[in-house]
Assembly symmetry: C2
């Protein structure tokens, strides 16, 4: 038996302590379903990254096992995912290396992604992903999904399209479209129709016919498998003369162990991409894991996830694969198919290992159209343009960020698009707090409450003004606040007292402190006293370490506990 401390830090051991027979049934079914999904998705995502199809299968093998052994999510399926594949493809194109070198460069990238994730764990810096706001995520996910879908057009229409970003693709389309191959287009429509029908129509119909819900849903989700089996088994008989591009020979056998060496130049070239893939991959994984865990009222351990995903990426690097993450689609399927623990993933990896070891030659005749259709159906739900309008109504800064991330990913690429979105969201945040809302307060008659004079019927004093700054006082807004206070003073000749209401001030920095000190002196020259009211505990602790209090006293300024006590004192 393991010591208790191990159980605390090793999720799988904890789960297995209370493992029961019906858990095993759930894991078994989920494992099989995921294995079946992994085969076409793995190959398709490897194509998306510009890599040979077996690398997508390898990426689902050891990384899946390593995550299953270490991860804190019971049902997340780690492996090749759409957005990380797109980003890997972008990094490979920008690496300046020959495409024949890309399999090796992709593994180097996976190594650096793993190192970044483990580095974030060491630095306890998982929270850095919180700076990627929901608006940035929505914008870049929609755009990335659109680019991924466009990338599939070359398979769906059997046309020559360069591998690349949105701009490359749409400028090449007008010339390429007329070359569309009729057979491919026909099969594409059939595949998309079949997938759409099974995904959206089959389950309700089967349930109406009396099938058990789980069985109906499982069958409905097996669309990709049905499609692959049908196109491998039936297509040659039903449509032998079809002219279709095939996946081609895939080497059989498990991946070889490979040792990765990186020189300093390669590290410098790949590191920015690796860091961004690590952050985006971690963000996607933790979102999926948290969503699944909260359905079972469990919690995810972010540090454990960084460890598990980091090791999974190192595993990818050393087994001829490329960067991996926790995918949304397969994880949902795994969860809904009844996965109770990561044993489901271990089983999926086992099935996949058998396929990779012995049966890859079977897939040589698979039309590429089928893979393209599977990817398109997987990413279409991620495209959500309407989010811009919904966000606009609530907060324009968020809508601008979303739009900038979306257009940035389309026209500058995933990496620059995300960086643009992050920079813009931070810039807009700073801009807002640099020009804070300042309310003039008055007393709600016969009460101790003070409210904005523009929103409420309140009492004011002619010789004193109560100003509430709705923001922390810090370097970017000190000048603005100073100006507003001086403006208020210059427009009211009878004024002798200004009360700065600090109920919304959680923090004062050194710039703001100096600005307050200057303000006290400038107001004193105009025979106006500055007072503070409703200073919070942490802020007054801070002020105790400064000269402000002495300076206030020198100029007959006071610190009032509440607006009401200031009102009473100044009324006299």
């Amino acid at each position: 038996m393991l010591p208790p401390s191990w159980l605390h830090t090793w999720p799988l051991a904890r789960w297995l302590q209370s493992y029961q027979r019906h858990d095993a049934l759930g894991d078994l079914l989920a494992g099989l379903v995921v294995a079946v999904m992994l085969i076409p998705q793995g190959m398709a995502y490897a194509f998306l990254a510009g890599l040979p199809p077996q690398m997508g299968l390898y990426a689902a093998l050891f990384p899946l096992i390593l995550y299953a052994l270490l991860g804190s999510s019971r049902s997340m399926a780690v492996g090749p995912v759409a957005i990380a594949s797109l980003m890997t493809g972008e990094a490979l194109r920008h690496s300046g290396t020959d495409p024949s070198q890309w399999p090796l460069v992709a593994a180097q990238l996976a190594l650096l992604v793993g190192v970044c994730l483990l580095g974030l764990r060491l630095l306890n810096a998982a929270s850095i992903v919180n700076f990627i706001s929901h608006s940035v995520i929505k914008g870049f996910t929609s755009a990335a999904a659109l680019v991924i879908a466009l990338n599939q057009l070359k398979y769906l229409l059997d046309i020559d399209l360069p591998r690349g970003d949105f701009f490359t693709l749409i400028t090449a389309l007008p010339n390429a479209l007329p070359q569309s191959a009729g057979d491919a287009v026909l099969l594409s429509l059939l595949c998309l129709g079949l997938l759409w029908g099974m995904q959206n129509q089959l389950a309700p119909q089967l349930i109406r016919l009396g099938w058990p819900k789980l069985a109906a849903q499982t069958l409905a989700r097996s669309g990709p498998l049905v499609l692959i089996l049908a196109s491998l088994v039936l297509l040659p008989f039903l449509w032998p003369q079809a002219q279709l591009a095939k996946v081609g020979a895939i080497p059989a056998g498990l991946p070889d162990w490979q040792f990765i060496v990186l020189d300093l130049g390669q590290i410098q070239a790949l590191f920015p991409s690796a860091l961004l893939i690590a952050l985006v991959g971690y963000l996607e994984s933790i979102s999926v894991a948290t969503a699944l865990a909260s359905q079972k009222r469990e919690r995810i351990a972010p540090r454990q996830e960084l460890l598990a995903l980091g090791i999974a990426n190192l595993g990818a690097a050393f087994t001829q694969a490329y960067p991996v993450a926790g995918g949304f689609g397969r994880s949902m399927v795994n969860h809904n198919s009844g996965a109770r623990t990561t044993l489901a993933s271990l089983l999926a990896a086992g099935v996949l290992a058998l396929v990779v070891a012995f049966f890859t030659p079977w897939f040589a005749d698979l039309p590429k159209v089928v893979l393209g259709a599977i990817v398109v159906m997987a990413v279409l739900p991620l495209i959500d343009i309407s989010a811009i309008w919904q966000t606009w109504a609530f907060n324009r800064a968020d809508a601008l960020t979303l739009l900038a991330s979306f257009l940035g990913v389309l026209f500058l690429g995933v990496e620059l698009g995300i960086l643009l979105g992050i920079s813009l969201s931070i810039a807009l945040l700073l801009k807002r707090s640099a020009q804070p809302h300042i309310a003039e307060l008055g007393r709600v008659p016969n009460s101790e409450h003070f409210r904005n004079v523009q929103r409420h019927q309140v009492q004011t004093l002619t010789q004193a003004v109560f100003l509430r700054v709705d923001e922390n006082l810090y370097f970017a807004n000190t000048h603005y606040i100073e100006d507003k206070i001086l403006d208020a003073v210059s427009t009211r000749p009878q004024l002798t007292d200004v009360v700065l209401v600090c109920s919304a001030v959680n923090f004062i920095d050194a710039s703001a402190l100096e600005s307050l000190e200057t303000l006290i002196e400038r107001l004193a020259q105009a025979k106006v006293r500055l007072h503070l009211a409703e200073v919070k505990g942490p802020v007054s602790d801070q002020l105790a370490h400064s000269h402000l209090l002495t300076l206030l006293q020198q100029h007959q300024g006071q610190i009032f506990l509440s607006c009401y006590s200031a009102f009473c004192a100044l009324q006299k």
Copy 2:
């Protein structure tokens, strides 16, 4: 007579309307004093930038006139300044051009600085300089002054030192010091002693002897002039055999008009430096102008300053000069010598024009030691290391920013140092707001007030917890706040209600809105209701545009006006 709208926008015309005889006397004296200061400083700052001495004189000529005609500060003296000269020198060294080309490149840089300033005016973006916090300014000013002083060692000791940054200078010192020339060292000590004595000791002594204060102070400030006259007139007689490096021949005559052409490559290379020189120059100018204006209870118009400084820099570019700004030292002298309007600057420019046109050959025999000593005495007061300790006591983030800016300027150069400081100040600000202070509140007995349970003796409820988040709710802190609330719930099994007190929340972004929606649903699964209290006007306007209110109602959550009404309702 000018139409009134002109008077409003053209400061000089406004001042001249009420111009009187004693104004003219003040302007006359101040203009003469500033002209006298400009000669040695102009030459010395040009040397600092790695440019021929006449460029420093030219930089004080047309830019001074243009600012005098357009500026909104009565007494600011625009021209060559220490830090902009240091930054120009850095930009020239990094431009990759041959030193013989530097006079032209410096003029190109001035053109771009002018364009940046006018661009900031067009974009109404003067407030961007507010993001350079006081801590960054203090750190980089101290470090820049230190580098400037070290740069003068080659003149003070007559040694061979490479032109360059702190690291270059201190690594070259050990080899160079033993070559110090005895005559130069002796003269340096004499010059520094004379300057120090006149600056700090002369005025009090003269006043004690019965001199009028203004006359005593004016004489005390004429140290540089006395030093120059003495070394030109007396030195050849008193110490004819002294071996000293001389300024050398300076071409006589006013600067030629030159046309500046920039190709795209040069613009790209120089633009980052130009923007930073523009920002730092504007920041220095506006600080000086504001400080001087507030002594006379006047205001500075930031937009007018951007225009005036922009045009002054364009003037510098077209008249063989280099980037200019409003300098602290000369402006103080101008102000204290009695300048009433910018006519003082016009007079100073006139005197300087005479000197430049006819008398520059007189300065060929001026020892470089004298210029070095004048610069050292001008920048020494800017070095303030103790600011780090003072800031540390108040706010560690500011102290770290100050230290980083200081060390950054020393070891990475002025540009990177400032950028490092700005980035760090923003990063630390975001880090702080990403992990906000969250206080649990209780009721102050027999009152409507609620205070932190850890700081006060207050009443609490077992079934409800009042949490006040002391920060805006936005993307970087949503996860943290979510976690803290879920932690509070998971540790208190009797809890049925969570009240989020929003008195310090001035703003909710889209990420936080989604996080709140998720939180309501997660808490509902745990049979806990979420309520809001003390929501401010602007925030409740915002929430009216969202689904949050509907969702709250669905899960029996309420919005309470105050903590007290929530307390009364939940007590039952």
